[in-house]
């Protein structure tokens, strides 16, 4: 949306209105303090510095040579691969506990994507065409689960699995059930946005040409939805890897705790640069997934003669 819609007040190049006569107001107030001024520019850059520099420092700390969390003492990979000849514990890729946790993170993300994305796509497609009171109630419930603080859903699921549906054991199965519940709305919202922009002409044309509804969806609508499906896969994957609230309540034995929960518990007990390495790894893996999803999205969307920039993606997700 960035470049299609003309933005900005009168262009910054225009005189700032100082030459106009206006009564009362002193000159410095007449000059718009909000427009093209260094104040706004400074606030914006200040915000970006504040929001991004800490992250960069945290990444650098994960390559720290010393044990300090707070200052850089030379460069080493000891928190990633372990010090040569040193203790395998305390580094991301050699510590067996963290290794298990890393695999668990990937397993959960994979399972959540496999279940949540098809459910979400079906829900979005069905709800987009089904008229009446029932679908709008379903939509309301879905949105409610989306905006509710995660702790409410997580604790409610914990109570259900502990005291009502006791056959679901806390651990991987409970984690997957909980994560899918939290992630369905993400997939629905991404796909729904795309459905609304596609409209219904294509499948109607297909059906005019003799296709059954199922054929029209399989051959026409789903291919049109591929970009959104790619985007929602990336989104659900990244969000699952990052999630620690739901998973923390629903994890059982220590082996079922993914990396995010290990980091959270580690921070509570004794923060160390190893946790920075783990968090950096999480960040890199979700960035890779998001970038892949974005490229797939762009590729698939461009194949259909549409163009989306970064802003287009922001509009979608």
């Amino acid at each position: 949306m960035s470049d299609q819609i003309a933005v900005g007040g009168p262009s910054p190049a225009a005189p700032d209105g100082g030459h106009r006569t206006r009564r009362g107001l002193p000159r410095w107030l007449r000059r718009d303090p909000w427009r093209s001024s260094w104040v706004l520019e400074a606030i914006t850059w200040g915000y970006f510095g504040w929001s991004l520099i800490p992250i960069v420092i945290a990444i650098l700390i994960s390559f720290n040579g010393g044990r300090s969390l707070s200052s850089q003492q030379g460069f080493s990979l000891q928190y990633w691969y372990g010090a040569p000849g040193g203790d395998p514990q305390g580094s991301l890729f050699t510590d067996p506990n963290l290794h298990t946790a890393l695999l668990q993170s990937l397993r959960l993300a994979f399972l959540a994507v496999i279940v949540a994305v098809p459910l979400g796509v079906g829900f979005a497609v069905g709800l987009d065409r089904w008229r009446g009171r029932a679908p709008s109630t379903a939509n309301f419930v879905m949105l409610l689960s989306f905006v509710m603080p995660e702790i409410i859903i997580a604790v409610a699921l914990f109570l259900v699995f502990s005291y009502a549906l006791k056959f679901v054991l806390l651990g991987t199965s409970a984690e997957v059930l909980g994560l899918v519940t939290v992630m369905i709305p993400y997939a629905v919202i991404v796909v729904r946005a795309r459905l609304l922009s596609i409209g219904r002409e294509y499948e109607e044309a297909a059906m005019d040409l003799g296709a059954s509804p199922t054929q029209a969806i399989g051959r026409v609508l789903l291919p049109l939805l591929y970009p959104a499906i790619a985007a929602s896969i990336a989104l659900v994957f990244a969000a699952t890897v990052d999630d620690f609230v739901t998973v923390n309540y629903l994890s059982g034995p220590a082996a079922s705790e993914p990396l995010s929960v290990k980091i959270y518990n580690g921070v509570r007990n004794l923060p160390s640069p190893e946790l920075n390495a783990a968090a950096t790894f999480m960040m890199v893996s979700s960035t890779v997934i998001v970038v892949c999803g974005f490229l797939a999205y762009q590729h698939l969307a461009r194949k259909r003669g549409e163009r989306f920039g970064a802003a287009g993606l922001a509009d979608q997700i």
Partner: protein, 319 residues
Amino acid sequence: MREPGAAKLTPRRSPGRRPEARPATFQSRLYWPTWAAPAIVWLAILFVLPLYTVLAIAFGTVDFLQNPLPVWEPWFWTAHYLTGVAHQIVGPGSYLGPVYIRTFVYVGLATLICFYVAYPVAYHIARCKGRRKKAFLVLLLIPFWISYLMRMLAWIGLLQNDGYVNRVLLFLHLVPHRVGWLQGRPITVILGLVYGNIPYMILPLYGFLDRIDQHLLEAAKDLGASPFRSFLRVTLPLSKPAILAGGVIVTLPMFGDYYTNVMLSGSPHTTMIGNVLDNAVENTGQGPYAAVFVLILMLLLLLPLAYYLRSTRRTMEAR
């Protein structure tokens, strides 16, 4: 990576303004419901049922081991635990009352700070052009795919006693000695909440400010308003819905927040509602209280939730 703004940014065109095009082609009226059914069943069992279980436990009883026994029939419910907790919130010598007040103060302050930072940034970016704007947007989106844990971890490093924050402040002679930022300081928790949630406010604000009709501003200018005055009288009032929506988007997760507090403070002096709930779940034998705390949290959030869902629906219908 939640994108609460998404619900508002979605639709370009509204479907089905006209009647169903050709009902005859659909073999059955159940065709579309079948597509949505799996997810509906899923949400019914794993979202609606759990919420009902919260009620059944909050108004239920316990067995001899203090494990909750959910009572499913509403006519057998007892408000025993609810009144117990209510006494702890408002009664004399209550220990939960201050926690609730503190939560409201922290969340209120954090939301205000979010607004005062987010609005100018969103406004500025909405009025940039071309490559500059694209670059700003990319910078704006980066925090969305960095996990909350990573962002808090970053501050834990910076706020250590010998961390960069203390070093800079000492260097500038702003503090006389090193400050223990992580030892239960309200300011740390509030700024942590701001840091964690502000991206969710900037994005919807930007989305809205970007779409404000420029003709309105030109009209204000033609009518003799100074730029500042036209900002105050046109842009700001126009963006009221976006401000409210952004406020709700950041407020909801803050009320359910316990992790920021645990990671950045860990002291009982900064305990919030979320921490009380978290503790009740972690300690065995507190099941009914956990359910009651969830219930109270849901009741507290009912109003902002209803507002947000209603405004979302309205924007969906308006487009």
